[in-house]
Symmetry: none
Subunit: 233 residues, 2 copies
Amino acid sequence: MTKPQILIVEDDRAISNFIAATLDTQNYQYQQVKTGSSALMSALSYRPDIILLDLGLPDMEGVEIIQKIRQWSNMPIIVISARSDDKDKVEALDAGADDYLTKPFSVDELLARVRVALRRVRYDSTKLSSEASIYENGQLCIDYAAGCTFLNGKEIHLTPIEYKLLCLMAKNTGKVLTHGYILNEIWGNVGGNDTPALRVFMATLRKKIETDTSSPKYIQTHIGVGYRMLRVK
Amino acid sequence: MTKPQILIVEDDRAISNFIAATLDTQNYQYQQVKTGSSALMSALSYRPDIILLDLGLPDMEGVEIIQKIRQWSNMPIIVISARSDDKDKVEALDAGADDYLTKPFSVDELLARVRVALRRVRYDSTKLSSEASIYENGQLCIDYAAGCTFLNGKEIHLTPIEYKLLCLMAKNTGKVLTHGYILNEIWGNVGGNDTPALRVFMATLRKKIETDTSSPKYIQTHIGVGYRMLRVK
DNA sequence: ACAGTGTATTAAGATATTGTTAAGATACTT
DNA sequence: AAGTATCTTAACAATATCTTAATACACTGT
């Protein structure tokens, strides 16, 4: 999976660098800008996954920046501001911000809230049926567009049927899929009731994605019924 | 557009009512619960748009609740907690919470953050409208579509026959079902009069869903006739 | 209190379902 | 055509579930 791209909008050089250093520790990539107008430019050209936005920039009102971006994008915007007044918070959030942190903020909290936003981006991207759709669940990751699967960031090789099976389960995360349904979806079988075959594929698939096949994290079996993909922490 | 549905999870009655009153001013609809287990139940059956979750409930760790819900749903969870420690925040956010407010909180900020979450739900709701058919009775909950059963919000494992039996009783809540009828429905038996077997299954089923098997809340015995599922609480 | 009826519980053996492995068949690539 | 990867099939092992039967319990009426 590609590294998260984050846009830091902050006119105070010290704070900006501090945030940058913090993101460095997580191996995130970022771009730093100091003004509202350059923030809008970068949001457009750099296409970050997240924007960390300081209010109180010299050239533009924070709310204005948020509104401008919201005209064409839903990317997460986390406001970082010295103003702790309710009115400011409400204004920013209602303008379209996703979160609001007041300075001084805790590094850990910032990172946690960044992760929340990233989670959302990842989740959203799976729903836009167009290209670049990615499924992420726990340590497991599927790039539908590229047809690749990753576990713990490392690519794992799946055979065509294994991949189809995994995608089918992934696209129905949380739901129990019956043997019959799965067989239909994968082999297009009409009468063919080849459940044993499904079992061996499930076994080989599990061997590739589960750390402990005897108590699977991802794909759970429902005896007498079928299988279910669970959402994993 | 339908009114937003919000689940308030808070054991302090005063605060719970305060939040409820706040939501009233916005014409939001809500449900109030006081425990972790009822929160899980309501999340399942009430299907709120948002959950407002107090940590520090009497019966369950807040993080545990978040994780359980996240196994099958991405609904926004806003944590409202008295703990302002970084560690608590990070833990909750990483477990899957979307936002974290510390008490005492400002009403305006709460509402603003609720609006943020609602915005997201509205945006998401393009695909997610898969209405599940769900049975709820007291602490018991059946998701027919998924084929899963929950007690106190926690999933419990039922064998195929146990599940069939429970569904049969549930779908006829309030009615007495004779042994013969049940045997027919489950085994399709015509002459087979294997009431002892039914008793065994009823015993194992009760052991799984009743807190006190010697005085069952859910499934009542009618001597000489059969069984009846009662509506609870 | 006693027998008698109906029910609950328990445990062990039988059966069914699922997981695993491996060898042969098929399809693909070079 | 050889070699690799993938699929299919079948046999077996490991579980989970069901059945059965024996025992314990609760209630009823005499």
